[in-house]
């Protein structure tokens, strides 16, 4: 469904992403991990249209989307969340999601937007009351709102950016289960970008590891977790240390 080939991003003389290729199959959850500065956010931003790649191609359902404006990519069916939730505080919770439902699906029908908003809010477990304000939400609530906004745009592919930062362990588990539920029940393909390896490994079908802008490993979670290059990157000598460091980074 998504085929990325030879993706490069340079900022001045610095190469943030160098020659990364991968593909994502319909219905899978791909984990994208790597330490800070490894280029995963840069890849994410190119997929979502925040900035164009310096070279390479991004094909979604057979069509080139590299360099398209963010709203066009959303309209093609690629939704995204932000690492730090970015709610619109002047709008109610419902209006936040309604907005995404309206413009995310091309801006044609408000009735359809309302329906999408209700479904998305119910899915993530937020109230569908039209007047509830964003100010009443805590960290976990804001993450849910972020996800509901992305879902309301009607994505076929969801780019989830480090959804677990700032959550406690029970909330992390819930959030991870939520992503799986979104895939299982709505059939949405997911790319999950995350610092925290532990929870991610439990949910994803496949993992891709980045370091210094290059892909260093890819495969099943069990295989990748045992890859010496991955362990080296995560500074650990055994799996427990790896997880501890990764969890720290996510806090």
């Amino acid at each position: 469904m998504l085929v990325v080939e030879g993706l490069v991003k340079r900022f001045g003389g610095f190469t943030a992403v160098s020659n990364v290729s991968f593909k994502v199959d319909q219905g899978e959850i791909l984990g994208l991990i790597g330490p800070n500065g490894s280029g995963k956010s840069t890849i994410f931003n190119m997929l979502s249209g925040t900035f164009p790649p310096s070279a390479g191609s991004i094909k979604f359902e057979g069509q080139e989307i590299a360099g398209l404006a963010p709203h066009r990519i959303i309209n093609r069916g690629i939704g995204r969340t932000f690492q730090i939730p970015r709610p619109f505080r002047r709008l109610s919770i419902f209006e936040n999601v309604e907005l995404a439902g309206y413009y995310g699906q091309g801006g044609h029908s408000r009735a359809r937007a309302d329906e999408a908003a209700e479904r998305a809010l119910a899915m993530v477990g937020l109230p569908t009351d039209r007047h509830a304000t964003v100010d009443g939400l805590g960290a976990a609530g804001l993450k849910k709102l972020e996800l509901a906004k992305a879902l309301a745009t009607g994505p076929k592919l969801l780019l989830a950016d480090e959804s677990l930062g700032g959550l406690d362990e029970a909330e992390m588990d819930q959030a991870a289960d939520m992503l799986r539920k979104i895939r299982d029940e709505l059939g949405i393909t997911i790319i999950w970008v995350e610092h925290i390896m532990g929870v991610l490994m439990r949910v994803v079908d496949r993992v891709m590891v980045l370091d210094h802008g290059e892909k260093i490993s890819e495969g099943l979670p069990s295989a990748v977790a045992g890859d010496p290059r991955v362990i080296e990157v995560y500074l650990g000598t055994d799996a427990h240390a790896t997880q501890a460091v990764a969890a720290q980074a996510g806090r």
């Binding site: 963010p70 709203h71 959303i74 505080r89 002047r90 309206y102 413009y103 801006g107 304000t133």
Partner: protein, 328 residues
Amino acid sequence: MNARLAWPIAAVALVALPFVYRDPYHLHIFVLILIWSFAYTSWSMMGRFGLVSLGHGGFMGVGAYVTALLWNHLGVSPWIGIPIALVCAGGLALIVAYPCFRFRITGHYFALVTLALSGIVLQVITATRDYTGGSLGYTPERTKGNNILALQFEDKTVWYLIALAVWAAGLVIWYWVDRSMSRYAMEAISEDEDAAAAAGVDVTAEKLKITVISAAMTALAGALYCQYQMFISPDTVSGISVSLQMVFAVVVGGIYVALGPTVGAVITLLLAESLRIFFGTKAVGWDNLVYGVLLVLFIIFLPKGILGSLMDRLKSGGARPVAARKPA
């Protein structure tokens, strides 16, 4: 009294007013208040979303001068001239705003770019004095008595009703935007453009849409002012002082409420008229000084303006808390 009854009664009273009350000076003030209220409402269409334009004096000048020039030089009726003027103002808005929005010039920088627009329109009017009369002002050629084709009327009642209709239309447009998804989009954009884009909003297009509507409305106010006063000068319908006056009136009246700009127009016109009557020519320019001082005080102490704050006070105790908004 409930609101369902209050609106029709207010509407009937406003329409009936010139037939009952015929003092020409007061009617004149009413007409001016309605025209400026419409101009301020037009400005607030953008201003309420944090798009602070200091260029609206320019749009008003385009509306007034294009209409008058077409009439005097080419004999084009204002009925055709005004739409042409609106298209010119809309086009000018596109030319100035598109690069701003495309390259993300926002906040103070946007205000500065639009400030330049005010200055440029003023300079163009002054520089082409052979056609526009320059700083001495300009008068559309008079026809005799009431002439619908020339949009010239001796009777103040007619002008009052025209201004009332246009003002009401301005409020309808305000409400129409307020109820539409465009308001959500603009609120979102004013908070976070990237997040708005991630919700699927075409940020540049939405901003352009509201800007062009606002500019065209302002140009209509300018054309109306010209046809009513039958005299325009760069100082009264264009330039930076007119732009600043719009900002001041809207901030004082209330930037986030439909009738805020109208309240602002009432206050600014009464202020200017009182200064003129009590101090005469000695007070020329005082109103601008008072505006300046009041603007600072309002932004600090009453950012929602007079009407906005009053409505908040009435609402408090109601079910829905009103989120605090920052002044633009």
